[in-house]
Amino acid sequence: MSRWRDLVLLVLVLEALPASAQSRFGFGRAPTQGEIAAWDIDVRPDGHGVRAGRGTVTHGQEIYDTRCATCHGTFGESNAYMVIAGGVRAEDLKSGRAAGLRSPDVMRTLGNKLNYATTLWDYINRAMPWTEPQSLSVDEVYAVTAYVLYLNEIVPAGFELTNENLLTLKMPNRDGLTRQHGMGSVAAKPDVQGSSCMHDCGPEPKITSQMPAFALNDHGNLRAQFRPIGPLATIDSAQRETRPVQGATHAGGDGSAREILARHACMSCHGFDRALIGPAFKDIALRYRERGDAANYLMEKIRKGGAGAWGPVPMPGQTTIKEDEVITVVQWIISGPRDGQ
């Protein structure tokens, strides 16, 4: 009888075993060498994944000026995106700590934050240029990395970055990152704990900051952002607004020129009335709309990009924008664009 019971128990235990404890499922297949080579692109500070190659600051500048400066600025000052140069002091290279980060007045940049150059190489290689990731060759990635390091005064103008000196190069903030905190494991203790006091806790609260009245409508009319039924009403913040409404946005694919411009990130370089990295749409309209071939000219410019018409910073060709979208945008430009239309 006890043998029968043991047998029943054994069957129950086997049934209850988690799948991972059983033999393999045998799903999936071995990857090909080509698949691994194409996907396994990560580079670690210890040299894991580093590719053989080299590139000079000079070559890097040529690539940067044509492929990167559009977004990051000629000197890495980056009007639109994270500042990639500056904030580094000569003594930081010796100390291994970007001392400026102690001060709230010093801008946080790639140069004074990053601890290893390998990470810069890895990121340019996997994700840049933003609109055409993984389009640079290995040597081009070395060259652009070298130029960004040069912009931060970490390497001299005559420098050549190679797969060997990439690993020994010392970044200004190499010792500025710490893992001494409680957020690395569930078992560790949080660094800040609240109080469990229930009654007569602390002094009378004082309001130290409140929503400025002039900013109440900056996210659009709040009444349009809450369900109109329920136990509580909503403030009609548009009634408090004394300035032109900007409005919070939510996604919409209505095919309008504005929507197409937003979807293709055109507005990161072109303003309506104001030149940003590229010319203002209003100025483009003024210059070209009397031209007989304005539509064809502008469509070609959007598709192929170019430089020199407005300044030295080139516009990359827009390859993902569809034919009918180009037409909509060009008609909108020629008709004289205004903000909000």
């Binding site: 990470t119 109080s195 009403a233 403030i235 939510h250």
Partner: protein, 437 residues
């Protein structure tokens, strides 16, 4: 229920069936036309200027035939719910492709975030991934690297679990002064779903990890940013999921269709979307998203790195910023609590800015690393009030005040702001975003 004395310009409730939404809009635009050019700073009462419409005891939808079944094959909210939208915070980012949209927490019930309003964070835009071509490579310090198709992955034993995802930068705009008006923008990089997929431990068992050397994994996305994050093996073998299902359907494209990583309790960035590769390694990768971004600046100029865990936190979603209490009397104070370290043990609420607290009711079930809905009863006496909630998790961690956080971390760390949130109720019933000390 005592009605407040009428104050000029104060919002008052309209009588039942007083005006339809369409009529309210018409009244509002009519008033705008009248007030155009005037310094119309006062809050005009809703619809009070209009004559009451005749009440219609039998509404039109009772006196006719409705639409047939399958009018909309995948359904959608009522057109009257159009205000409930993911929204961007103007000026926060320069492009929509590297940006964030916020969950409308003020309009949601319970703990589940409808998939259509789950907050978004893209780094190189939202790709359209063909599931028939999508694959997951698992390799590195393993006995046999494997390439899995979606068919392969969906054939493994599956699990469904409720978990929250919170961006590490949620409430980041609150580290300094008050700058945004509603809970959508203060706490809306937060969502909670039922996720379905295969345990990562199952896949790692399938490929056979090198138990002597393996310490971390790298997860990589298939989008243009090929986003990468390091995850400790301790997490990977515990409760990390490789997810394809969300709230009963496939993942939405915004949330990683067809495959994402789900690292319960860990900051949003680690829950890599459009997951295409997992590499097993012996040390962390120091990727861009863990050495240049998603690091937390301390007052001494150091940055904390690999701050994975989202600490215990809560927020009142009603009454919250932008709302108005129309009458004195009963209100339900309700909100959400969560912890990256486990279950919520209790939530206290107060109406006096932190002086006197009482325990809130927790909606069951209370799940680990999951949103918990809390509720408390309140009778508003018409006096100004400061509403707060304070969560405690099962490991005994107590949600700190913003002042306690700042005393240790300063105001520049961007991420991991789990401070107690304060909403001020004015004598006029308006609820606004404030900070107290």
């Amino acid at each position: 229920m005592g009605r407040l004395p009428l104050v000029r310009g104060r919002i008052v409730a309209a009588p039942e069936n007083h005006l339809t939404t369409v009529q309210i809009d018409a009244a509002r635009s009519a008033r705008r036309a009248v007030l155009a050019g005037a310094a119309a700073l006062m809050a005009a009462p809703v619809a009070r200027a209009q004559a009451p419409a005749d009440p219609e005891p039998v509404p039109p939808w009772t006196r006719g035939l409705g639409a047939p079944v399958a009018t909309n094959g995948y359904g959608g909210p009522s057109p009257f719910e159009a205000n409930v939208q993911r929204r961007q915070s103007p000026g926060l980012t320069r492009t929509g492709q590297s940006s964030v949209s916020f969950t409308p927490l003020q309009s949601l019930f319970g703990i589940v975030t409808p998939s259509g309003v789950h907050f978004e964070r893209h780094h190189s835009g939202m790709p359209e991934v063909d599931p028939a071509q999508h694959k997951l490579l698992v390799h590195g310090l393993v006995e046999r690297a494997r390439m899995f198709s979606m068919n392969d992955l969906m054939r493994f034993p599956s699990v469904s679990r409720f978990h929250f995802i919170e961006c590490g930068a949620n409430s980041g705009m609150e580290w300094s002064n008050v700058a945004v008006p509603t809970v959508q923008y203060t706490h809306g990089m937060l969502a909670c779903s039922e996720f379905t997929g295969v345990l990562l431990s199952t896949l790692l068992g399938e490929v056979g990890i090198d138990k002597q050397r393996a310490k971390y994994i790298l997860a990589e996305g298939a989008d243009g940013s090929a986003l990468t994050r390091t995850i400790p093996l301790e997490f990977a073998l515990d409760d990390v999921l490789v997810v394809y299902g969300q709230n009963g359907e496939m993942l939405r494209p915004e949330n990683g269709y067809p495959l994402r990583l789900l690292v319960p309790g860990v900051q949003g960035i680690s829950n890599v979307k459009w997951l295409r590769r997992i590499e097993v390694g012996d040390q962390p990768w120091n990727t861009r998203e863990e050495s240049l971004h998603y690091i937390d600046l301390m007052p001494d100029g150091t940055h904390r790195q690999y701050t994975w865990i989202q600490e215990v936190k809560s927020v009142i979603t009603a009454p919250s910023g932008g709302q108005v209490l129309l009458d004195r009397g009963y209100y339900e104070i309700t909100g959400l609590a969560w912890s990256g370290r486990g279950r919520i043990a209790r939530v206290d609420v107060c109406t006096d800015g932190g002086r006197n607290w009482k325990a809130a009711r927790l909606q069951q079930p209370v799940l680990t690393k999951c949103l918990t809905r809390f509720r408390a009863d309140w009778r508003w006496d018409g006096a100004p009030a400061l509403l707060q909630s304070r969560a405690v998790d099962e490991r005994g961690s107590v949600q700190p005040t913003l002042a306690q956080l700042r005393a240790v971390r300063g105001t520049r760390s961007i991420h991991h702001n789990n401070g107690i949130k304060t909403w001020r109720v004015g004598a006029d019933g308006e609820v606004s975003n404030v900070q107290v000390a």
